[in-house]
């Protein structure tokens, strides 16, 4: 059992506020991922939870107990660092033993635990190797093993896979997910990898400049981004945006006029928005469709063929570029004229302040 609660956490370095009042509840066994652009404060927030950075103001509760002033080693946490941070002068066995030894666990019990963890992580052949003699993936496993063996209430990960190559990263991602299911420990995971965030998280926290932009399940963020920032940040390739003029709305949707004169009736509500307001329309590349003819048309500028899918970059008649993700076998070529269908149920509308219009119906997977 371990819940983590952040209450209006703030961090100031010298005069600069880096974390600007973050509140968040993490349930027992939950896998929470912090994402956000570089420098947004993900690591700082994680380190504040770990106790490696002082908390300037606010409360950190673990299992309901205030932990602000508790030593890192006494918070019941274990952390896996991006650089692994193994003790270079100790072999794998001693690396895992260090924390247990400090905690005063008897030798026999230590041995049993370490052997069990080494078995789980397939580290048995390397128990008496120094970190310098291991590959990146093996070091990563040792770092994870060192965390697991202490049986912590909460696991903290700071971009643990970013030093691995793509293939190994994919493999470790699956292993970590499996491990989390098996151990069922509360986990906080920092990454800037979309795929890691989407596939591993129960809950994603999107941060920007020390502020929470949105908290939600991966599909909630995907289908119902709260604002332009989240819409742009979640999803790859990123969502297309183009300007439009709000014309009016009712309970079933809002209609907007695009720059080429065509109109869209999007199923989102628009309380308090005046007709004539400049809004932004967003639609993901995977939701745009190539059509034989239609009101929205343009010329193909670039084609990226990735095998299974093709990304078609279309320059619209009004000058905007719209990326379309389509079938790998599509025959369209550069410089041809194409028309696009923008399915209204997949369009998002954003007010001038960046906030999204509320969808009339929640997506079934993001209820």
């Amino acid at each position: 059992m371990a819940t983590v609660e952040l209450k209006n956490l703030r961090k100031t370095y010298l005069t600069e506020e880096i974390i600007k009042g973050i509140s968040l509840s993490i349930e027992d066994r939950e896998f929470v991922v912090f994402v956000g652009p570089s420098g947004c404060g993900k690591s700082t927030l994680l380190r504040m939870i770990a106790g490696l950075e002082d908390i300037t103001s606010g409360d950190l509760l673990i299992d309901g107990q205030r932990m602000n002033d508790v030593e890192p080693g006494k918070r019941g946490l274990a952390m896996v660092f991006q650089s692994y941070a193994l003790y270079p002068h100790m072999d794998v066995y001693k690396n895992m033993e260090f924390g247990l030894k400090l905690a005063g666990m008897p030798e026999a019990e230590r041995r049993e635990k370490i052997e069990h963890v080494a078995h789980t992580l397939q580290l048995e052949p390397y128990l008496h190797h120094k970190p310098g003699q291991l590959s990146g993936g093996q070091r990563q496993r040792v770092a994870i093993g060192r965390a697991i063996v202490r049986n912590p209430k909460v696991f903290l990960f700071d971009e643990p896979l970013s030093n691995l190559d793509a293939a190994l990263r994919g493999q470790m991602r699956v292993e970590l997910s499996a491990l989390h299911r098996k151990l069922g420990a509360t986990t906080i995971y920092v990454t800037h990898d979309q795929v890691e965030a989407m596939t591993m998280a129960d809950k994603i926290v999107v941060l920007q400049k020390g502020v929470v932009e949105q908290i939600g399940s991966p599909l909630e963020l995907y289908h119902h981004p709260r604002n332009l920032f989240v819409a742009r940040f979640i999803g790859s390739p990123p969502m297309n945006f183009f300007p439009a003029i709000f014309q009016g709305g009712d309970a079933a949707g809002s209609s907007v006029q695009l720059r080429d004169g065509s109109t869209l009736y999007v199923p989102v509500t628009s309380p308090g928005i005046l007709p004539g307001t400049k809004v932004t329309v967003g639609i993901r590349p995977e939701h745009v469709e190539l059509a034989p003819s239609g009101p929205n048309s343009g010329t193909v500028e670039v084609i990226e063929r990735l095998g299974a899918i093709t990304l078609v970059h279309v320059r619209m008649s009004d000058g905007e570029i719209i990326v379309v993700q389509t079938d790998g076998a599509v025959l369209t070529d550069v410089d041809t004229h194409v028309s696009l269908t923008l399915p209204p149920q997949n369009c998002h509308l954003f007010a001038p302040d960046g906030l999204a219009f509320e969808a009339c119906r929640r997506h079934p997977l993001a209820a």
Partner: protein, 275 residues
Amino acid sequence: MALKTKTSTRIGVTILGWGIALWLFFPIFWMFLTSFKSEVQAISTPPKLFFMPTLSSYAEVFERASYWHFTFNTVIVSVGATAIAIALAVPAAYSMAFMPSKRTRGTLLWMLSTRMLPPVGVLVPIYLLARNTHLLDTCTGLAIVDMLTNLPIIVWMLYTFFREVPAPILEAGRMDGATRWQEMTMVLLPLALPGIASTALLSLILCWNEAFWSLNLTSSHAAPLTAFIASFSSPEGLFFGKLSAASTLAVAPILVFGWISQKQLVRGLTFGAVK
């Protein structure tokens, strides 16, 4: 970058290297040679390179002064001063390297600036302090002064070595439940050991050869080897044979020690933990 260096350049660099090495080594070599000459041979012009070696200078040196007494003092003072300096400098450098504040840089520079003052500038106050605390002509007194003069350099060097240790490794220790003290002794020290050893050796050498304070703060009881050498450059006239013999005897232990320990020192810092 050219992978192959031209042969002529290589030969040139080799010759230059050997030249500098010999030039640096020559005084020691000459001292060593002179110590085996008679006093007459020692001052003959042109200087003789080949001669019948004699141990007469050594015999006289041993007869006139108690070499072992001076050596004992030097060892006590150097080892004592080095041990205390390292013990004080490790926590200082640790906090500066891993918990820097706005003033860390300034503090380091200020500490080093104390070395910019010529020691003679503080001779009188230090002499009076030593006298009033009854530390004149004691190994303790000399060790304290030696320790304090070297402390800034030692902190500076340790700081540089500690900075090479990736902070996450220490943080991992803290997460594992280590106290600050355990983090320093069980994680940092083993990693920085080669650096600490080099620093200790340097401090040992500096203390071993320190003459100014030795000559001014000691007379007989606590006089170290530098005073032993000085006692052979007496005003009655220079006896180069005996002076060389005394000097050879004085530098031999530290030279041999440095030679033996160099293997450990050049190994350098090796980190396999990162990436």
